[in-house]
């Protein structure tokens, strides 16, 4: 295998309405052969436009799109040999299921024998072979999208492009369907790009995730990397359930660590200061996941426990409420300074905390991420 990426975007910009709307803002990315990559971001972040530029349905205003190292500018979509799967299926409803699946093969001028073989194979793959003579109107949404997938893979295209392919499906159906989709893509050895605004979907089946916002790429990496090391408040907030607290740097410590004070009256805790990014008195935001918050009774004896507490930050908080929501229990906590945060535990978590009383909270240093306080915090914390 070569080192040339399968799909590469170099400084691509796209504007609409005579440069009034900036949809994609100077992005570059590489997608390796055989990778299943997600473009994830809120509505209007430019992910679909990026996808359409790769497929040739939109022209980049600036920059280059390379496929296997070759610039494909000026090549119309019909000659790019990519499979495209649409959110709203875009099935040809005046053609039968069979005619839909053979459409792309026919356009490539293959002989009849080959067309029949490949179309049958594609219909078998999605389990629709018994419907080949029917019109697509008999299908519900899942059937429509299966047909959409069969139609796209039948041509033998090695790159599969998907724009919210599960977005029109019922949430429960989509949860099952997404694993089938991933298996199919992996079995066929396709390079796939999948656009979605659904974080959970991306986390569940992606090889890599590219997070976009306002036309720019914020971060790319494996689901694990993004979840464990978000590089911005937005990414931390967008993936998973996250607490944010405001504070400032009280003291710089050795080993790239710092002591911070969560507002006046709040607890003082130690967290990482990689590359000594922060200096004394910096205003910062710390984030930690709901599930990373440990809870102990207020009289817990830390000194005589077998666990290594050296990395754990312990402080007191008031338990405002506890809610049982099936698989999980949620604990609503408040600090002395008035800031609130949440802890999430398995539904079978055993405790005898009393609502309204103080409990002890533990946070692992490595679970706490610190960010500079942005000028517009609300904007960073909004999910759009």
């Amino acid at each position: 295998m070569t080192n040339i990426p399968s799909i590469e975007l170099v400084n691509v910009t796209k504007t609409f309405n005579e440069e009034k709307v900036l949809a994609v803002d100077n992005i570059s990315l590489e997608i390796e052969d055989g990778d299943y990559v997600f473009l994830l971001g809120p509505t209007g972040c430019g992910k679909t436009t990026t996808l359409r530029m790769i497929a040739g349905l939109e022209k980049p205003t600036k920059g280059k799109v390379l496929i296997d190292g070759k610039d494909i500018e000026g090549i119309p979509p019909e000659d790019r040999d990519m499979g495209f799967i649409f959110q709203h299926f875009e099935i040809f409803d005046h053609l039968t299921v069979w005619e839909n699946v053979t459409f792309g093969l026919e356009m490539r001028g293959y002989n009849d024998e080959y067309i029949i073989q490949e179309a049958e194979k594609a219909l078998n793959t999605v389990g629709l072979s018994e419907y080949s003579d029917e019109y697509p109107s008999i299908f519900g949404n899942p059937g429509m999208q299966k047909l959409g997938i069969a139609r796209a893979i039948a041509t033998g295209a090695k790159i599969l492009i998907m724009d919210e392919p599960l977005g029109s499906l019922d949430p429960k159906v989509s949860k099952v369907f997404r694993h089938e989709l991933r298996n199919l893509i992996k079995d066929l050895g396709l390079t796939a790009i999948h656009v979605t605004h659904n974080q959970e979907e991306a986390m569940a089946i992606a090889d890599k995730i590219i997070i976009m916002r306002s036309g720019q790429i914020l971060q790319m990496g494996t689901p694990y990397e993004l979840y464990e090391n978000p590089n911005s408040i937005f990414v931390a907030n967008f993936l998973g359930e996250t607490n944010f607290l405001q504070g400032f740097v009280l003291k710089l410590l050795e080993d790239s660590k710092m002591n911070i004070w969560i507002r006046l009256g709040g607890p003082k805790i130690i967290c990482n200061n990689f590359n000594n990014k922060f200096i004394l008195d910096d205003n910062i935001i710390i984030s930690f996941r709901y599930e990373d918050v440990y809870l102990f009774p207020v009289d817990y004896d830390f000194d005589h426990s077998t666990y290594d507490w050296s990395k754990m930050q312990i402080f007191k908080a008031n338990l405002e409420a506890a809610r049982f929501v099936g698989a999980t229990k949620r604990f609503y906590l408040m600090l002395d300074c008035g800031d609130r945060f949440l802890s999430i535990k398995p539904g079978n978590f055993e405790e005898n905390f009393i609502v309204g009383e103080d409990i002890m909270v533990g946070l692992d240093i490595d679970d706490i991420h610190a960010f500079k306080t942005p000028e517009n915090l609300l904007n960073e914390l909004s999910l759009t």
């Binding site: 497929a55 040739g56 349905l57 119309p76 979509p77 019909e78 000659d79 790019r80 040999d81 990519m82 499979g83 495209f84 649409f86 709203h88 875009e90 099935i91 040809f92 409803d93 005046h94 459409f103 792309g104 026919e106 356009m107 490539r108 001028g109 293959y110 002989n111 024998e113 080959y114 073989q117 194979k121 078998n124 793959t125 999605v126 389990g127 139609r151 796209a152 041509t155 492009i161 089938e180 298996n183 199919l184 079995d187 066929l188």
Partner: protein
């Protein structure tokens, strides 16, 4: 899914690639340069056939100012009598149009509600019959109205013109009101009722504002049709001269400067009306703020509703439907065999040739408008040329709004001896005029279908490897097929029924509507009745075909 993936190594088949001829040709001609070429030809055709004559008539007026001044304002014998006559004719035209449209609107409210919100046996048939006068040649309708009101001793003149115009403009208004009523959501009305509004209040505050666009569009369309109508008016006018009749008169007496002057005035008026649609639909408000719940609750009583519905149906039948089709009953009593088939002047031969002419002109207009109409519809819906597309979209409707006699005269000046001198009066000139005034009727329905059709499937087809033209043939065309058929039928119907534009450019050639006018003027009533009934039956067939085509869409 996973289990069903079949390993295919053991049945590997050689894939040969050879595009079929049609795909190759389409791929070749899908290159941008050919598309640009077709766009250019289409736009040139459009501008030349439709806009050329209009621009030309204004330059003619400008160049002939002295002659116009001499003929119209300062004739050596008559002084400015011509100008006074023109003003009188404009007065007649406007009052006829205003009264007819006013009556139509009042009647159209209950009728359009009955036809959309009620369910009863024979609703579809009533709906088709209400539409029918739109398809029948106005000269046949006018003749029928003449015969019907003749029973009650109504002589040709101002009031008879109004009766005639009410008949053929009514469908335009009902049609547009029905469209908005069908589109509007009855849930809003239900919501208003649950909030305590009575029937009349709901209508005034909820239904009426939703119908606004339909009412204004329908009213202006009907107004311009009435303003420009010739065929029925000639038959019903007696000594009264409306403006289109006056143009026909000027043309017959070869008073070309006066004719172009009046045609120019009419064109300006109709353009002003056309552009006022866009402004009016945006700015007009209806009184929804002040509320008179008690009075309206009183009038919401169901007896008032019954009264209203019965009155409306009565007026519809007695003022519109019976006068329009009274002529079909007349055919039994008339001795058309003696006059038409046994007479010395071979009337049946004239009828036969004019029928053939009408059908040929209609068919050719359909073909030519189809060739240029589809590309123009694609340009207006697909090209991203900003203002230019808006401009094309707006001027496309000009021929609908313009009096056809004025458009016909403009075309005569542009292509005829006085202008480019390419065509003489006669068959080809009639064809040219018919192409011009029917063009929007072809393009509009296609645009409608293109706009409502899903663009995603076209993109899907392209990602699957289909070139632009292949996408058009395999995907777009099946989706807009009904729009194209509807356009073809509309063009043919309008061409078949046209009188004014034909009279101005026909020379010695006759079409059926003109023949009916000739025969009525020559008092050859039995033959005129026979010719009218033939075209009425023919048009009825066409309108039922049109409804069958457009109905499928909603299924």
């Amino acid at each position: 899914m996973r289990e069903t993936i079949q390993k295919t190594e053991n049945r590997e088949i050689e894939k040969e690639e050879s595009l079929s001829i049609s795909l190759k040709v389409e791929k070749f001609f899908s290159k941008p340069i050919y598309r640009k070429g077709l766009d250019a030809i289409t736009i040139i055709f459009f501008l030349l056939v439709i806009i050329g004559p209009i621009i030309n008539i204004f330059s003619t007026i400008f160049l002939n100012i002295p002659a116009i001044k001499n003929d119209v304002f300062a004739d050596s014998l008559l002084g400015n009598l011509q100008w006074k006559n023109i003003l009188t004719s404009l007065g007649y035209s406007f009052s006829v149009a205003a009264i007819a449209v006013g009556v139509d609107i009042i009647l159209a409210f209950p009728i359009s509600i009955i036809l959309t919100r009620y369910n009863f046996r024979g609703k579809k048939i009533l709906d088709a019959i209400v539409d029918l006068p739109m398809a029948v040649p106005t000269s046949a309708l006018g003749f029928s109205v003449l015969l019907f009101w003749g029973i009650f001793g109504v002589e040709p003149g101002f009031s008879l013109i109004i009766f005639g115009h009410i008949v053929f403009t009514f469908p335009y208004i009902v049609r547009n009101m029905k469209i908005v009523l069908e589109k509007s959501n009855t849930l809003y009305e239900d919501a208003a009722r649950t909030l305590g509004a009575s029937g009349v209040t709901v209508f005034r505050t909820i239904t009426l504002p939703m119908m606004k666009q339909g009412i204004i569009a329908g009213a202006i369309l009907a107004f311009t049709r009435s303003l420009g109508e010739t065929g029925a008016t000639i038959i019903l006018s007696g000594l009264v001269e409306t403006s289109p009749i006056m143009i026909v008169g000027f043309r017959r007496q070869l008073e070309l400067p006066s004719a172009s002057f009046l045609a120019g005035i009419l064109i300006i008026i109709s353009l002003a009306l056309l552009f006022s649609i866009k402004i009016l639909t945006r700015k007009t408000g209806f009184p929804i703020k002040s509320v008179w719940p008690r009075i309206e609750r009183f009038f919401s009583h169901k007896y008032f509703r019954y009264f209203r519905d019965i009155m409306a149906l009565g007026v519809l039948i007695f003022i519109i439907l019976v006068p329009a089709f009274y002529i079909t009953a007349q055919i039994i009593g008339e001795d058309f065999i003696g006059e038409l088939f046994l007479g010395q002047d071979y009337k049946w031969a004239f009828l036969y040739t004019s029928l053939i002419n009408s059908i040929q002109i209609g068919a050719l207009a359909v073909v030519i408008n189809l060739i240029f109409g589809v590309p123009l519809a694609l340009i207006i819906t697909k090209r991203k040329w900003g203002r230019f597309v808006t401009f094309l979209d707006t001027i496309l409707d000009i021929p609908i709004a313009m009096p056809s006699a004025a458009l016909g005269f403009a075309t005569f000046l542009f292509w005829g001896p006085a202008g480019l001198n390419i065509f003489q009066s006669g068959f080809s000139m009639i064809l040219f005029v018919h192409i011009a005034f029917t063009f929007p009727y072809m393009v509009r329905p296609i645009i409608g279908f293109l706009e409502s059709s899903n663009k995603g499937v076209e993109e899907a087809a392209r990602t699957l490897g289909a070139s632009n033209l292949t996408v058009f043939r395999r995907i777009t065309l099946p989706n807009i097929k009904q729009g194209i058929i509807a356009g073809c039928i509309m063009v043919f119907t309008r061409s078949l029924g046209e009188t004014g534009a034909t009279i101005v450019v026909m020379g010695n050639v006759r079409t059926v509507p003109v023949l009916i006018v000739d025969w009525v003027e020559a008092n050859a009533f039995p033959s005129a009745v026979f010719a009218s009934v033939i075209v009425i039956i023919f048009s009825a067939f066409l309108i039922f075909a049109l409804r069958a085509v457009t109905k499928k869409r909603s299924d």
